[in-house]
Point group: C2
Chain length 469, copies 2
């Protein structure tokens, strides 16, 4: 049995290729949209892609399961409980898919979503004990898949109860030695405490996973699952993903290269309403094209692009290097955006030497912020971190709106007052600051170093329990 | 904790990078000679290489542990039982190496070699249970590290007994859920039945590893370990590796590019005694430069190059494509050879259009061999497969000398008679045929498809138990 994991840090997403040496067939699980990685893996082993399956209809990215048939004659599989707009072979609890020496046993594992399945994999060339569990969004490394993504409190409560039973009856009933390979891994927002490693075992999680400690008392477990303080805020683009994945995303087919746009063509698009997405680091965004949004290319690019970009806006890119073009394009395509209309040829060098207008985003270090806060004044400190981070300590008097919620809650940020945005390090706060500027806030600064620097500088924080908080 | 596995198929070798996020330090285990892969991994995570350790002084490749200090300020670690020609920090059973959230507990695990250690790794960011075992050549996927590589029967017996105790007391005493990452993996000749996956767990091996079933009776286990019928023959280059690794291999430093040699320069080297190593497939080797040895670049290149190439011979390469040059060079450097003197510019196209002499190696399909064997005659069938393969069925009357033993046992192949070489598929037999031709055997043919084709064609085989065998 051949087994390969593919990891995308910015989505915290792992997908899997399982190949049977006896027949040369392979299965892909939780397919991402850039499917050529699987085609290449099959080629490398001289195998043929035969099956593709999603453990559930994901909330956080666009599935590539409908793209794969453009490359290979694959049969699509899905949970019998899934409601899909494309034909699949339905898998019910207890079903088996056999492929040479490999057997996949289907476990219906609702909780993260109602239709969720996990696949228990046995390599018969070694023997009849299961070797590993492809756990999707059920059991994660140090965490469980959050049950609150699909609806209101009642549905979340029901899913949390289902998750509790799934874990007790379907997953923790497996032997300790079974390896666990989840789909939602480090970097994913589908859990609040996902660990850094990309695999684990049933027995290790049984002992070390704090959420599972509550399992024996369903009420306590459900309470723990519903404790939204511990869960990251949901980026706006997630609302579109599940329906798109159920219906079957459009096929990408052949992708045209987004063109290098000379200054005037770029500026024409911009004046016609295209959104400028500036992929440089916060420090560089200190001077930027008026109206540009800043999402630095890096480990968190996808969720932040999906936070600030409207669903259908034409996008123009500002890149640090031309070589980043397709990395950015794939990040966008994977979360359901169209290809950008183009990118600025020559980058910021071309823009600034053309004497075009530049907006500035002043960058403060934490000492400058502390000094400003000493004197009475109208300065608003806007903290855009996750609830868990905020709860662990924040600047007295700061306003808390998570970055993910900012687009919808911007009217809570007072108009006409200076605003200093802050996060953990200065990356997310730069995203937020750029969004404020784009929406007309004139007096915005970004705090470089963020709360990490604030704390290391020994400056005052308060936390939830404090009377001052 | 960051954990990365590096896999080299042709050596069946896995090495490991373990990084501590708390301190940005990393450890590399069972270092290969092309150490830049570890430097790049450290760079990717913004970490610093701090420690390097070999679980044992390997028999099958040259360690890169002495090369790493040319790239980074690493501390070298080794078993307290190792006898080394370079300074290290000695690790005794029970010692701990701490690196931020990561703890390595040293287990002295003799058997494969006397000094052998394994590292039990705990990620304290998750809790105090061990997460994984870096098992070196102790417990393998579906196998154990062979104990017969260091000396005569008495030493092998003692090591097999030690291995039995290591497995019982040090390894199988670990909990089922601990993941196991061995150094000798699929493709390695350090075991006879190594499975295809690149990791496993204690509990899975406890249940599925056939050798461990004999553990409770030490005598039976030792007998099983000493059953050389089940173990692959040892390539000649292995005899040099352990001493070199103990003494500390010379540093490679900056490597000059082996030059593209024009025909005349190439031929001058050749006439002066350089060995021509032809890296093309067996089919292409049907016509080749006189005296060339054939080791096709691919999954088994390293052990076969290490079988036919003398330790210090100057080497000339014939490549299928120029782009393969450094892949071949690294395969050779990793097993202790010097860089080749150069490679034939223009490849075989240049040679044949220059009207230079060509030798042929006739290629038979199995039906041609069967037909030849029908009629009485002096044809010798030389089967060069592993003992295990031979035992499972061979051509009646064939002569069996494993490919690895052929250089030392060539005088057992009758002179003056036609020889047909056969293996499993035609790859190893082409290596053997080229060696026979180089040593003066004139009437040699290679059987394409080998015993696999022979069996599929329904032709007669006998096996050990048969009276005819």
């Amino acid at each position: 049995m051949i087994f390969t994991q593919f990891y995308l840090e910015s989505l915290g997403h792992a997908s899997y290729f399982v190949g049977a040496e006896a027949t040369g067939e392979a299965l892909v699980l939780d397919v991402r949209r850039d499917v050529d990685v699987y085609v290449a893996e099959a080629r490398r082993h001289g195998m043929r892609l035969r099956y593709a399956v999603d453990t559930h209809q994901h909330n956080d990215y666009v599935t590539g399961i409908c793209e794969l048939p453009t490359r290979a004659d694959v049969q699509l599989l899905a949970s019998a409980h899934a409601e899909l707009g494309y034909p699949v072979r339905a898998l019910a609890d207890g079903d088996r898919v056999e492929m040479g020496e490999v057997v996949f046993e289907v476990l219906h594992t609702p909780g993260h979503t109602p239709e969720h399945i996990s696949l228990l994999v046995t390599d018969r060339s070694r023997g009849d004990a299961p070797a590993l569990l492809l756990a999707g969004g059920a059991l994660l490394v140090g965490d469980v898949g959050r049950p609150d993504l699909l609806g209101g409190p009642a549905q979340t409560q029901a899913l949390a109860e289902a998750l509790c039973q799934t874990l007790q009856q379907k997953i923790l009933s497996l032997p300790d030695f079974v390896e666990v390979y989840p789909t939602h891994v480090s970097g994913s927002l589908c859990g609040g405490h996902i660990g850094r490693r990309l695999s684990t075992t049933i027995g290790y999680e049984r002992r070390m996973n704090r959420l599972l400690a509550h399992l024996s008392a369903q009420e306590a477990f459900v309470g723990q699952c519903l404790n939204l303080e511990h869960l990251p805020a949901v980026p706006p683009y997630w609302r579109r993903m599940r329906a798109l994945n159920q219906q079957g995303p459009p096929r990408l087919g052949t992708l045209a290269e987004p063109p290098a746009l000379q200054m005037e063509a770029f500026d024409r698009w911009r004046r016609d309403g295209a959104v400028v997405l500036d992929c440089r680091a916060p420090e560089a965004f200190a001077a930027h094209i008026p109206g540009a949004l800043n999402v630095g290319l890096g480990a968190s690019f996808a969720p932040w692009a999906g936070t600030v970009l409207p669903a259908d806006a034409p996008v123009l890119l500002v890149l640090e290097h031309a070589g980043e073009l397709w990395e950015v394009c794939w990040e966008l395509l994977r979360i359901g955006y169209e290809l950008p209309k183009g990118w600025l040829a020559g980058g910021m060098l071309a823009w600034r030497t053309a004497a075009k207008a530049l907006d500035v985003l002043p960058q403060w270090i934490v000492w400058e912020l502390a000094q400003e806060l000493q004197r009475p004044g109208p300065l608003v400190v806007l903290d855009v971190r996750q609830p868990q981070e905020w709860a662990a300590g924040h600047i007295p008097g700061a306003l808390h709106i998570t970055g993910a919620e900012l687009p919808a809650r911007m009217d809570e940020v007072p108009q006409g007052r200076p605003v200093a945005t802050i996060c953990g390090s200065g990356y997310r706060s730069s995203v937020a600051a750029s969004l404020l500027q784009q929406r007309g806030y004139r007096d915005v600064v970004n705090v470089l170093g963020g709360m990490e620097a604030w704390r290391r500088a020994g400056l005052e924080t308060v936390s939830e329990g404090d009377p001052q908080a």
